[in-house]
């Protein structure tokens, strides 16, 4: 009923309130988020002349517009803390990856070479197959004195039904780097932050530590104690075989 009265105020010429305003209006009105009366509607216990639901909602919607302005952050529901997520990316050489496109037509890695790739993704504790990585590395320059190359990497990490995280940033074959987390979907919707890339065995095994902000708490099955990175790490046989208890739901493949 409350939602009906709030929406009726839209016909009075007020701009349609955004979802966050609707939520605030409901909270102020003593209703919970489903529109049911709250147990302890503090705001409605003051002595006040009786209001009808329609006038109260109309006032609240109007007030909510003005109350919203001073609020410092519209993202209050999401935690501001940084969540760490560790994953392993492993090239098992069964996905045709990488596809090294030597488009520069030069004998050494040069600007112009492109490297699309896709590898398998496992949880940090190497107990679960989560999905895949997929994207593109753009060769930027070859650095003979470092014995490696600089790439610009643009790719995503897929976590099955959980969603995905997109990243962009430097990939140096000779040292660890930080990439920017540019966005995500599913449980990662609205994510921001960075991810540290550590190469364990170039180019087959990589270890990532995500520093994620702006998303709800991650599920426990992604947060198992990570296996410390070392060249000999391997996924558990069950994860490698994608046995049902050793994968994320509908893991990406």
């Amino acid at each position: 009923m409350a939602s009906a009265t709030i929406s009726s105020s839209n016909h009075s010429g007020l701009a349609s309130p955004s979802p966050s305003l609707r939520r605030q209006a409901k909270e102020i009105s003593g209703l919970n988020l489903s529109g049911q009366p709250r147990r302890n509607p503090k705001l409605t216990t003051t002595t006040r002349r009786r209001e009808t639901p329609s006038t109260r909602a109309a006032k609240l919607t109007t007030r909510a517009f003005f109350w919203n302005k001073p609020k410092p952050s519209p993202e209050a529901p999401k935690p501001a803390k940084v969540q760490e997520l560790c994953v392993y990316e492993i090239n098992e050489r069964d996905r045709g990856s990488p596809a090294f496109l030597r488009l520069s037509e030069k004998p050494v890695n040069s600007l112009g070479d492109l490297v699309p790739f896709t590898n398998k993704l496992y949880s940090g504790d190497l107990q679960r197959r989560l999905g895949v990585t997929s994207g593109l590395c753009v060769v930027i320059q070859h650095l003979p004195d470092k014995g490696g190359d600089r790439y610009e990497a643009i790719y995503s990490f897929y976590f099955g039904d959980y969603g995905h995280i997109s990243v962009q940033g430097p990939y140096l074959t000779y040292q660890d780097t930080f990439l920017a987390v540019t966005g995500g979907s599913g449980i990662f919707q609205g994510v921001s932050g960075t991810v540290k890339l550590q190469q364990i065995v170039f180019p087959f095994k990589l270890f990532y530590t995500f520093y994620l902000k702006g998303i709800p708490n991650l599920p426990a099955e992604l947060l198992g104690k990570p296996v410390p990175p070392s060249p000999g790490v391997e996924p558990s046989p069950a994860a490698k075989a994608c046995e049902p208890h050793a994968t994320a739901p509908n893991f990406t493949n």
């Binding site: 302005k69 952050s73 930027i140 940033g169 930080f178 920017a180 540019t182 932050g193």
Partner: protein
């Protein structure tokens, strides 16, 4: 990004950020200069064979207040995201010593077409052109050739590298015939969590570009990145010390 065609002089362009092409800068009437805070300024898009060939000095014409383009930069509709908007000005200069750009005519058509890709990497200097900060690195994906604009539309996905400070990742439109705004998609180091947009202005196509970042969600930027920007014009050059990467004219571990 509407632009009035009368003020915009287009040049025929068959490639973006090409190091070797030489285009004659035919004489043209002076452009109508619009202040930055009204719309994108129309700067002559001369592809100079030599950097000093500009006949138009725009320094004096651009007001100092032009660097606060709040009307375009300020989020519309009363966005109350935390933190203020910080402006950061940067010059990207192609000094033709990085093998950039690498034009991949994968469409195999004589005219720029969907399928062509252009990886690139150029040098970055502070807005006051006193310090070398790093490089840009990324890729331009050709989307369509616009014969009526004598230019092309690209989708650009690239990063700005600031040495030890970190990097900023951007994505958005690159039109060879007019200025554009790209999205700031993220960053690392001091730019971790960055959002906002960046205005791209071409000074000399495709060798010199001027960027104005409107960044939110980052801590106060260090002073050495915030020197008073040199007003963009085709003849700007980095200071000799910055170009030579002398230690006092670079930021810490500038990206190279």
């Amino acid at each position: 990004m509407a632009c009035s065609s009368s003020a915009l002089r287009t040049i025929s362009s068959s490639s973006v950020k090409l190091a070797r092409s030489s285009r004659s800068a035919s004489g043209s009437p002076p452009k109508t200069l619009l202040p930055f805070n009204l719309s994108t300024p129309f700067l002559p898009k001369l592809a100079a064979a030599s950097p000093s060939s500009s006949s138009q000095s725009l320094c004096s014409a651009l007001p100092r207040r032009s660097f606060s383009c709040k009307s375009q930069a300020a989020p519309a509709g009363g966005d109350s995201a935390p933190g203020k908007v910080q402006e950061l000005c940067i010059y990207e200069i192609n000094e033709r010593d990085r093998g950039s750009p690498a034009i991949l005519k994968l469409s195999q058509k004589p005219v720029n077409s969907l399928g062509d890709l252009v990886p690139f990497s150029n040098k970055l200097y502070t807005g006051d052109l006193q310090k070398r900060v790093g490089i840009t690195a990324g890729i331009c994906i050709l989307i369509q050739n616009k014969p009526e604009k004598k230019g092309d539309r690209y989708e650009a996905i690239f990063s700005f590298y600031f040495g030890d400070y970190g990097h900023i990742a951007v994505q958005g439109p690159y039109l060879t015939y007019e200025d554009t705004y790209l999205a700031v998609t993220g960053g690392s180091g001091i730019f971790e969590g960055a959002t906002g947009q960046v205005k791209l202005q071409q000074l000399i196509f495709p060798f010199k570009l001027f960027y104005t970042f409107y960044l939110k969600g980052v801590k106060d930027l260090p002073a050495e990145l915030l020197g008073k920007p040199v007003p963009p014009n085709p003849s700007v050059e980095p200071s000799p010390a910055a170009r030579a990467c002398e230690p006092n004219a670079t930021i810490a571990n500038f990206t190279d």
